[in-house]
């Protein structure tokens, strides 16, 4: 690593610091990697994810852009086709919607249509629980999940935040990297020395259990683990599977877990209808039907825009309690 990570506490690394470390290390490793977005250079990014990059690598590789998501996403696509590896930051991931056309029509199709590779990462803070209101809280994975040509990853831990960002930067196709802003400074862990690369498409079992499987990702991994711990007191053994990658997702890990526990509870923070959980449920129905001992249940946010006021947002989102109650119900089925 060429530059120290500003603000890193001795020992443990936060989720946000892990992202910053991955950016520093990948930029030091590969001169083709550069960062482009709003307020990423002088300011260091709205949440500080790109802090220190300008000083370490210069303004030519850390580009502050005009407010123009189509413009800088498109520019990243062009630079990627030229062989560079841009990392695009959206100040809040809600704003990626402004660049939707450039991502789904251009970036996602170009290898397939024309053989030109578009190795780029699109990252930014998403998710609720921070009282950000309708335009600074959304979970957007389903918008892109139905677009072949894109990859989508969603780390839940500092370790995975680092390892998946490195994998995304090294991947030869466009990757949407969903970082959960609620986790930025709330979780930390001691990371091993050296390179961490998590292969895209691989999930991980966070907690083993016998009675049912919670399939989840992102911030909901932590609430699901809390629910599992609470249910253990009641004698219910809950397995928690963190998918980490959504496109492609680890279908084999899901099926393997369901074959053992025979019950599936899908938990995500995005709204219910058309959410990625519907796809997991369908795969289980198609490929593990005969193993099921109960309905596949889903716990997800209400089918509304993300409300702002704390009582409203708390009511809107899955909580540890709603996950716990759903799991208890499923276990009793």
């Amino acid at each position: 690593m060429s530059a120290p990570t500003p603000g890193a506490s001795a020992g443990a690394t936060t989720y946000l610091e892990a992202i910053r470390e991955a950016l520093h290390e990948e930029m030091a490793r590969d001169p083709d990697v550069f960062v482009i977005g709003e307020d990423v250079a002088a300011y260091g990014g709205a949440f500080g994810a790109t802090e220190g990059l300008k000083d370490a690598f210069g303004e030519d590789r850390v580009l502050d852009t005009p407010i123009s998501e189509i413009g800088f996403t498109g520019a990243a696509v062009g630079a990627a086709m030229m062989g560079l590896r841009p990392v695009v930051e959206y100040q809040f991931l809600d704003f990626i919607a402004c660049a939707f056309d450039m991502i789904v029509n251009y970036a996602a199709t170009t290898r397939y249509r024309t053989g030109n590779a578009v190795p780029m990462v699109m990252r930014g803070p998403m998710g609720g629980g921070v009282r950000g209101g309708p335009f600074h809280s959304q979970n957007l994975e389903a918008f892109f999940f139905n677009t072949p040509g894109l990859k989508i990853v969603a780390p839940a831990t500092a370790h995975d935040a680092k390892g998946l960002l490195k994998a995304a930067i090294r991947d030869d196709d466009p990757v949407i990297y969903l970082e959960h802003k609620y986790l930025y400074r709330r979780i930390k862990e001691t990371l091993p020395e050296g390179d961490i690369v998590i292969p895209i498409g691989t999930g991980i079992v966070r907690r083993e259990g016998r009675d049912l499987s919670i399939l989840t990702f992102g911030s909901m991994v932590h609430r699901s683990l809390e629910a599992a711990a609470a249910l253990e007191e009641e004698g219910i053994s809950v397995e928690v599977v963190d998918l980490r990658s959504l496109l492609p997702f680890d279908e084999e890990l899901i099926l393997e877990s369901i074959r053992r526990t025979a019950k599936a509870l899908i938990v995500h923070e995005a709204t219910l209808t058309g959410g990625v959980g519907a796809e997991f449920a369908a795969r289980i129905g198609e490929k593990a039907f005969e193993y099921l001992d109960g309905p596949v249940l889903r716990v997800a946010s209400l089918d509304t825009p993300v409300p702002y006021s704390p009582p409203l947002e708390d009511f809107f989102m899955p909580s540890t309690a709603t996950i716990t109650n759903a799991a208890r119900k499923l276990a009793a089925y």
Binding site: A75, A76, T114, D173
Partner: protein, 367 residues
């Protein structure tokens, strides 16, 4: 940086960099340096564009073209001249009416014919249609998508990459007058302007965006006003004057490599065919097409070549016969080529995995 200018819209005094066509500075023109061979090469590319599109039109009428056919009749001059004005290392992003640019960049006519006929041998192997192909790191051709305006930010990024690598290469792309209405156009142009990227954009004022006339796309008389708004160099040029377009692009290229930033070059021309071949042009006022036929870029250039002693009429007829024979041979090759193996549809969505799952396999008739 400010240059004396008179904008065509001409409302008051401006400090913009816009220059109206015909108001060129005296002195040598870049095209003066073109030898007779190069001038005839330009002619040959224009003719090849027209003859290839004529043959494709026949194939379309015989149902051998899969999907629509898009003509550039009347616009061959600005496309060929602008592509020809680039250096071999430069990057170009052609749109649907810039078939000629692909020929100039070395794609054989058979490639374009196979694309239009959805054949396996086309540059996309049957995955995309018409001129939707490219080879960024090979031929320097950046593939378009159907969404107009998208190539502007993409080409800004291409220019950015070239500059980041310290390469003296520019990026050139095209946009129709209708395409300049898009947000992508403004965002990409603004990015290029702020970063002074080596980007040249040919804005084709060809009167019609499908059936919508230019004055229903914009409230300015000339797209040079858009250049003024962006703070970049703008110029309006007679798009059917091949050498004038060549000169303007050479000068824009020189500014781009000198670090003076992008140019928006309006090429005044006319789309003499419909949006695509199915379009009967009912919306075109009586007599308008006939008037523009008299301003045909190929006819005008032939007159220039004869008047300046570069060629005699008979020489030009000979070139046309050669071009026709070559296009015929290329079309024959395309017609003899096969359709793609269906399983190619699974390939290359990603580098890894290289092949998509065929979840329909259990239900196929041959399963």
């Amino acid at each position: 940086m400010a240059r004396a200018s008179t904008s065509r819209s001409g409302k008051g005094t401006r400090k913009g960099k816009t220059r109206a066509g015909g108001n060129r500075s005296p002195g040598p023109r870049p095209s003066d340096a073109l030898g007779p061979g190069q001038k005839l090469e330009l002619y040959r590319w224009m003719l090849a564009t027209r003859r290839l599109e004529e043959r494709l039109t026949n194939l379309y009428r015989q149902n051998q073209v899969v999907g629509g056919l898009y003509r550039s009749l009347g616009q061959e001059g600005e496309t060929v001249a602008s592509a020809y004005a680039l250096e071999p290392g430069d990057l170009i992003g052609p749109l649907i009416r810039n078939l000629g640019a692909l020929l100039v960049r070395g794609y054989p006519p058979r490639d374009i014919a196979m694309q239009y006929m959805a054949r396996a041998g086309g540059p996309t192997g049957g995955k995309d249609l018409n001129v939707h192909f490219g080879d960024v790191r090979g031929r320097g051709v950046v593939p378009p998508v159907s969404m107009l305006g998208d190539l502007i930010p993409v080409m800004a990024g291409v220019a950015l990459a070239a500059r980041m690598r310290g390469e003296e290469r520019i990026a050139l792309t095209y946009i129709g007058d209708g395409g300049t209405s898009t947000g992508a156009f403004y965002e990409g142009m603004n990015l290029a302007a702020v970063w002074k990227l080596p980007l040249v954009v040919i804005a084709e004022a060809n009167r019609w965006a499908y059936s919508t006339p230019t004055d229903r796309q914009m409230a300015v008389d000339s797209m040079t006003a858009k250049a003024d708004g962006l703070g970049i160099f703008g110029e309006s040029v007679d798009g059917n004057d091949v050498l004038a377009v060549y000169d303007a692009v050479r000068e824009a290229r020189a500014r781009a490599v000198a670090g003076e930033g992008p140019t928006l070059l309006e090429a005044r021309t006319y789309r003499r065919k419909g949006h695509a071949e199915h379009d009967m042009q009912k919306y075109v006022p009586e007599g308008e097409i006939a008037r523009w036929e008299k301003d045909d870029p190929i006819d005008r250039y032939e007159a220039v070549l004869v008047e300046t002693g570069v060629a005699r009429r008979g020489d030009l007829d000979g070139i046309d016969a050669e071009v026709r024979a070559q296009i015929d041979a290329e079309i024959e090759i395309a017609q003899a080529s096969g359709m793609p193996d269906p399983r190619v549809a699974l390939e290359a969505v990603y580098a890894d995995p290289p092949r998509a799952a065929d979840h329909l396999a259990p239900y196929r008739e041959d399963a």
